[in-house]
Symmetry: C2
Subunit: 289 residues, 2 copies
């Protein structure tokens, strides 16, 4: 896992414009927002899903980077004062706290463009039609019917009590869409999957994404800011409905384990090629930040 | 021109998600920001450039929409309080004035995703490798080395006096990059151009883009808010360096005409196929909003 995280870090280093290029401050801020932090969960999922379809890891790199760049942009925009207004991210001042709001806005905008630029690189896959498929999957996952839409639902839910199905609807968009895209893009870099196995991967991604979010909600309550690298206790402070507010800590923890089991069950027939996806499922549920 | 504007309007209508789809408010705000306004200058340029390469107009539609969606997103983000802080756009309250800042942020983000999704639609071109080329051109034009980078340079220049070459550097990024992309994408939907003619189109796009900006600067001084559909006199109020502040109105108007001549000169040998690009050049320089 460490090896792949380092591979991602080096590749992000290369794909992000150098601060020596104009506009230097924007490029510096983009690098600040992306490099030197983060678990790289989505790239790891992309590589792991690529193993299921025997994708060469270097073929998965553009997809892994693109998903991570979309994720990084979303964090920068989510932290802005008009959204979650958070000054801390990955253990350091958030992008707007360090570079100002206007620059942070442009950092997010530019990272989104860079994600699509990276995934459109020539010959990142031998089959350009499939490359276009991946671009479309990523764009849909990022947009108003995916991640950005999830943020909008999140905004509208502040101060409300949501039922578990309503929470699920929100998170399937907000975090689930991009996690699903990471899995589909990674798998899409290898041999074509039949419809049955493709459905299984999709099912895995859904449960893994939800498990990720339930654990996020738990960590917000149980973790401390130093370990999390971001402000702990924020959900309650901002009156956001979470799995913990809906279910309590004990049942939320049980739900995380149930979702882990469902995710693993979806992988059963995929054989040893899915070993790393299984590892990551455990990592998602056991993580402390 | 009217026909093509209507074609663009109808196609935008279709590509934007309906407000009946969740999240409804976000979709409503996206439609508000994009539909029913705007000159559709960039789509018109894309169609006109497509005529040079004998592209079928319906083949140009996805490229024309994608460029317009990027433009629309940039207007929504530029109007935000942390940027230009403008409450009026296209003759009505700007997106954040109508829907709130957080929603406007997500509108811009979602429109950017939708632009790439639209351009990645299957079989929008018969040659998927060229479609990938167009996606990359658009991503680069939108990102930190293009439009968003131009915004960053613009931010840094507030309160400064810029020389004409410095202004040119800023605008080649801020407005020029996307206008160039409109021309290259439109032309890219037809028969391949040889390097010489491709260079000429590129040269045309550069001068047309600069002419567009010089006229924008003039209109900000000479126009009224009702005709412009946005707040007049804003550049001076915000201490932004412009061609008018650098050159005065008379010489700025002369520069616009010189740039028009340069743009037209670049088209000379392209024959009758470039007729509509010539018309648009005049429209760019003669427009009143």
């Amino acid at each position: 896992m460490r090896t792949q995280q380092e591979r991602v870090e080096r590749a992000l280093e290369q794909v992000l414009p150098q601060p020596a290029l104009a506009p230097g401050k924007l490029h510096e801020a983009m690098r600040y927002a992306v490099l030197g932090g983060g678990k790289r969960m989505r790239p790891l999922l992309a590589f792991a899903a690529g193993e299921v379809t025997h994708a060469q890891p270097e073929r998965v790199v553009p997809a892994a980077l693109a998903v991570e760049l979309i994720h990084a942009y979303s964090l920068v925009h989510d932290d802005l004062p008009c959204m979650d207004d958070d000054d801390m991210r990955r253990g350091k001042p958030s992008c707007h706290a360090a570079f100002g709001e206007a620059t942070a806005l442009l950092v997010g905008d530019s990272l989104q463009s860079l994600a699509f630029q990276t995934l459109a690189e020539p010959a990142s896959l031998t089959d350009s039609n499939r490359q276009l498929d991946l671009l479309r999957i990523l764009a849909m996952a990022a947009g108003s019917r995916g991640m950005a839409g999830g943020q909008a639902i999140d905004l509208d839910s502040v101060g409300k009590e949501l039922s578990v199905p309503e929470l699920e609807f929100m998170h399937i968009h907000k975090t689930g869409a991009l996690i699903r895209a990471a899995v589909l893009l990674g798998a899409g870099c290898g041999e074509p999957l039949n419809a049955e196995n493709s459905g299984k991967l999709d099912r895995f991604a859904k449960f893994a994404g939800l498990a990720f979010q339930v654990v996020d909600d738990l960590l917000d309550v149980q973790g401390d800011s130093a370990t999390l690298g971001k402000t702990a206790g924020k959900d309650a402070m901002q009156h956001k409905p979470t799995y913990v507010s809906a279910l309590g800590e004990v049942r939320a923890r049980e739900l995380a384990h149930d979702l882990r089991s469902e995710a693993l069950a979806a992988l059963v027939s995929l054989g040893p090629e899915a070993a790393r996806l299984r590892e990551l499922t455990d990592f998602i549920v056991m993580r402390s930040n």
